[in-house]
Amino acid sequence: MEPIIQVKDLAVNFKAFAGTVQAVRGVSFDLFKGETLAIVGESGSGKSVTIKTLLGILPKNGHIASGEILYNGNDLTKYSEKDFYAIRGKKISLVFQDPLSALNPIMKIGKQITEALILSKSVDKAHAKDRAIELMTQVGIPQPEIRYDEYPFQFSGGMRQRIVIAIALASNPEILICDEPTTALDVTIQAKILELIKDLKKKDDLSIIFITHDMGVVANMADRICVMYAGRIVEYGTAEEIFYEPAHPYTWALLSAMPDLDTEDELFAIPGAPPNMLQPPKGDAFAARNKFALEIDYEEEPPYFKISDTHYAATWLLHPDAPHVEMPESLAHRIAKMRKRNGI
């Protein structure tokens, strides 16, 4: 199957007061039609920057240092602002993290939806309101005719996010990018929003890129997962492979850090902090926080080692001559429990 988006060795830098920040340092991934690809990582790992580059909405001090983004036969890295008008909202849409700040506080939400509709030329002005109300019903907003004339502050957080999703879907895009859409919401609402996104994906045949730092959310949604750290993808594979056979120490750490109600083990936290991207460390960026670091991790960057056709991890531990290291015991227990629960 041909991927609809191919990102190849993308590198993005920011000009900061103190120097150049290398936010993305050689990221490659593919998005296939109809799948949900999750990009997981801590704050500062470069996930948001990557998708902003896809849409061309990098802030002014950011620029693409190298790499390609192939979509429909075009390289998006070479696109001008004008070229992006054909893409934004029409082919690729974005759902934001915080619906409160994403919606214009003094504009009626009906207008905010119809604005998107009219822009994408998918309906004419006369029918825009009807289509907007239809959309609002689709995303699950009750009494849409009345709420059409209301302002964002009159909605609860979950409802606001539904509106943002409605705006994103207004023009029937091919690809939907969700940037941590549930982080700002209560846990009980999170589940509903995730359900909504899954339903919409099926109905409209969307391809989704889902950004999050929460592995629990990922388990629910993703077909394939990319794990990002310090501007690089350190492991990628199908959801099953990542959850049941993680290979990179960082993935182990992320999985271990998920709170588990059943366990009696100590709550795990990854020690240390992400590195300063003004001067990225030599070798493997995770080495300083990695219990399983090898001496070579401080000197040379690991390449991607193939685990299966769909599963790759960039860690020297997979080198044939490297010492054999098992994942931490508590993690192994958890995975065993998960397998039992899911009957795998």
Partner: protein
């Protein structure tokens, strides 16, 4: 909502009332009588005059007489020194229009100019336009309006001869405006600067906000997003800034009227203070108080109307 308006109106009336009372009492309690200037006034003449103007009665009684005259007959008293025997109201009535003319025009031109400057500075933030605007803003806000008035009068009216040096009281229509251009301009510099500074800050902040980003991901061009979302949002709290500026303009106009020899309320107040014509002084003070209180009222009301969060807000969130 209606209750809110009524409340504010009531507060306004009470404030005016207090000012009137305080003003009256303070002036009456000042030492000396207004007849001190006339040194050779025979005692009985003085007594007759005192009786005529009720000066011989206790202050409280004088106050109530004064109040009654205003509320029932709109009689603000008689000018005793400046325009002997003319009613204060007739004197004041002639002076109000030109003062309002100058001040309102000042406010009106400061809006578009200030907005233009502020918006251009914010859009090309940290560019050369931005630095120029910021620099001019500091100067226009710091330098007092009467210094500007003097400079304009000297360089543009006197040296360059483009506008009349002082106001021509007999001019009408376009000629009238022409002779008032300089005072209007002098008073407008500070408001222009304030509007520009405010808009620049608000717009710059809004341009970087998330909803601007959303607008662009919807497919709006940078210009469309700035116009429809950025600028619109920045203008909303503008009323809060502009209307109180009117009071400042009024204050500045006191001196500017003096400089350009404009026969307005400002000159009247200065003269009445210098000649101790208290009835007139009190009337002019009430005029300025009325304007000030009205502007506060308008601001309070507009805030409630324009910002939907306040207008509708507080209702349950679903």
């Amino acid at each position: 909502m209606k209750q809110y308006i009524l409340q504010r109106l009531l507060a306004m009336v009470i404030t005016l009332f207090i000012i009137l009372t305080l003003g009256f009492l303070m002036i009456r309690m000042m030492p000396g009588s207004i007849f001190d200037d006339y040194q050779d006034l025979p005692a009985d003449m003085e007594a007759v005059l005192n009786a005529k103007y009720n000066f011989d009665k206790p202050v409280i009684v004088q106050y109530f007489i004064y109040l009654k005259n205003i509320l029932l007959h709109w009689d603000w008293g008689i000018s005793l020194k400046m325009y002997p025997n003319k009613s204060v109201w007739s004197v004041v009535r002639g002076k109000i229009p030109v003062t309002l003319y100058v001040n309102i025009f000042s406010l009106l031109i400061s809006l578009p100019l200030g907005m233009l400057a502020g918006i251009s500075a914010a859009i090309k933030k940290n560019g050369s336009v931005d630095y120029l605007v910021s620099f001019l803003v500091v100067i226009f806000i710091s330098v007092p309006s009467f210094v500007f008035a003097t400079c304009l009068q000297y360089f543009i009216a006197y040296k360059a001869g483009l506008f009349p040096i002082i106001y021509d009281a007999n001019a009408v229509g376009a000629a009238k405006f022409h002779s008032l251009v300089l005072p209007i301009l002098a008073l407008a510099f500070s408001p222009i600067a304030r509007v520009a500074r405010y808009l620049r800050a608000e717009l710059a902040e809004n341009i970087n906000s998330e909803f601007m980003l959303l607008a662009r991901t919807k497919g709006l061009t940078y210009t469309q997003a700035t116009l429809r979302h950025g600028i619109r949002n920045s203008l909303v709290p503008l009323a809060n800034i502009i209307i109180p500026m009117f009071t400042t303009i009024m204050g500045g106009s006191l001196v500017v009227e003096n400089i350009f020899a404009i026969p307005g309320m400002g000159g009247l107040m200065i003269q009445s203070i210098n000649t101790s014509d208290h009835q007139v002084t009190l009337a002019t003070l009430m005029f300025y108080s009325l304007i000030s209180v009205l502007t506060i009222l308008i601001v309070d009301l507009s805030y409630g109307i324009i910002d939907p969060r306040i207008r509708i807000g507080g209702q349950q969130k679903v």
